[in-house]
């Protein structure tokens, strides 16, 4: 093996080089503003390799204190299809929660300007854990600025300071044994709005792992002309009701409209293929007048 081959092979194994190259590209492209960059956006750990890592980079020009904690919060939805996450630090009763047996370290660190810190995750699951996927949220917190509290200018003056605290909540998935997903549509509805159309989908995941896929809505008019197509990345853990607003000028098309809805686990480009669990596809077409 030549020197160059050895060097390249060594470089390919070194994560630091990828980090530097990737972040340099972002910085050169002017994509970043001062803040704390966290990658990846989802962490996969398994019973084969019980460790994981994330990297935190301080893109600001002053040191940042970064804290890392584990919490629990799956995407939930209300009857209108609004999605929210309720982060819980305690009183977690879901048996699918991995919060108690996954540790992150270091949990508190000061990252210098431009510096990168690796946060490692270690899973120590209980014995006889049933097959399936278990979840936690890795919450990375940083504070903006370290300026002193302003001093009042007069005896009766009141000064205020609001500290800006930024949190990124990443999903961590621990996979044990055989994992599977099976998605079912439990509710579908669509109606016209002033802005175009809204679609409401109810989905249930009957598997033991999260369903990660792409939701596609394609609207066509009475002349079978495509009006628009919209894609959304979705993750269904148990039940999810998702509303999709499709904006278009109805006056430019002839009613009635049709909307074809499909959900597929294929095509996600934001997750490495080996981390994706291939699930079933579902589709449905509705006429909307």
């Amino acid at each position: 093996m030549s020197f160059t081959q050895r060097f390249l092979a060594h470089a390919a194994r070194g994560r630091w080089l990828f980090t530097a190259a990737l972040l340099s590209c972002f910085l050169i492209a002017g994509k970043l503003v001062g803040g704390v960059l966290v990658a990846p956006t989802v962490i996969f750990i398994s019973d084969i390799n019980r460790t994981g890592r994330l990297e935190v980079q301080n893109t600001a020009n002053e040191p940042r204190e970064v804290t890392v904690r584990l919490a629990y919060g799956l995407p939930q939805s209300d009857s209108l299809g609004n999605i929210y996450v309720n982060l819980k630090d305690s009183n977690i009763t879901d048996p699918k929660a991995a919060v108690d047996w996954i540790k992150a370290f270091p949990r508190k660190v000061i990252v210098p300007p431009g510096g990168t810190q690796v946060i490692r995750m270690v899973a120590r699951p209980p014995k006889d854990l049933p097959d399936g996927e278990y979840w936690a949220r890795v919450v990375v917190t940083s504070r903006e600025g370290t300026t002193e509290l302003p001093s009042p200018e007069g005896d009766q003056a009141i000064e205020t300071r609001l500290n800006m605290v930024m949190q990124t909540a990443l999903m961590l998935k621990y996979r044990n044994g055989e994992c599977m997903t099976r998605l079912e549509l439990t509710h579908r509805d669509a109606w016209l709005t002033e802005e175009g159309m809204s679609v409401l989908l109810g989905m249930s995941n009957l598997g033991n792992a999260s369903y990660m896929g792409i939701l596609t809505c394609t609207v066509t008019d009475a002349d079978n002309q495509q009006v628009l197509e919209k894609y959304l990345n979705i993750a269904v853990y148990d039940h999810l009701r998702r509303r999709v607003d499709l904006e278009f000028d109805r006056s430019e098309y002839r009613a009635p409209f049709k909307v074809a809805v499909s959900v597929s686990s294929e095509g996600r480009t934001d997750v490495a293929p080996e981390d994706l669990i291939v699930g079933n596809d579902v589709s449905y077409t509705m006429t909307v007048e």
Partner: protein, 201 residues
């Protein structure tokens, strides 16, 4: 309906695992390309040329930063001060990540600011129109509105919020402080917590 089954790869920690950063699978060819681009062509020779395909799955990192704080300045007893979300003194948060990706944003907002010795508190309120989500990521409250969700409640930001097509979204936050007539003079502070998560993960 068929069930998707995934069996975990039983290999011991593989080279591919070691090469992952930020969910990015990069072949050695990409490394070579980066090195060459970085001005290290002398490392390559005719003997070292390799032909192959490179595949990459790029997961954009996510950043959240506060470009500006919500600044009420000096306030006086009995005189409420309101800052609209399109005011230059509004808080500005900037979120960068994968263009057009749906994100979940939620605030933990204080109900009061307190003196450092906790001897007095001052009310702060956030109304149902105190927030705007600017999907152009311009970072300019009150600037030309390019798209997004104007004047929404910071207590329940709309579902379907997305990072703008340019890879950034700005969130503007206003609010109102209400010092009492008998409010103690001094320096009051509180935390505003913004949490961001990708929806599709």
């Amino acid at each position: 309906m068929t069930a998707g089954v995934r069996k975990l790869n039983r290999r011991p920690e593989s080279g591919m695992h070691r090469q992952q950063f930020a969910g990015i699978r990069i072949t050695r060819l990409i490394v070579a390309a980066v090195l060459v681009a970085a001005g290290m062509p002398s490392l390559a020779s005719a003997d070292d040329v390799a032909i192959g395909t490179a595949t990459a799955t790029v997961v954009a990192a996510i950043t959240v930063s506060a470009t500006a704080t919500l600044d009420f300045g000096t306030v006086y007893q009995g005189v409420p001060v309101a800052i609209a979300n399109d005011n230059a003194s509004a808080a500005i948060f900037t979120i960068t990540g994968s263009a057009s990706a749906n994100i979940l944003i939620f605030f933990q907002l204080p109900e009061y600011l307190s003196l450092s010795d906790n001897s007095d508190r001052m009310d702060i309120v956030f109304d149902a129109t105190d927030c705007s989500v600017d999907s152009t990521g311009s970072g300019t409250p009150g600037g030309a509105w390019g798209g997004g969700w104007p004047d929404v409640s910071p207590h329940a930001l709309p579902s379907g919020t997305a990072i703008g097509g340019g890879g950034a979204t700005s969130v503007y936050l206003g609010g109102t402080v209400r010092p009492r007539i008998g409010q103690k003079a001094g320096s009051y502070e509180a935390d505003i917590v913004i949490t961001v998560a990708y929806e599709g993960t």
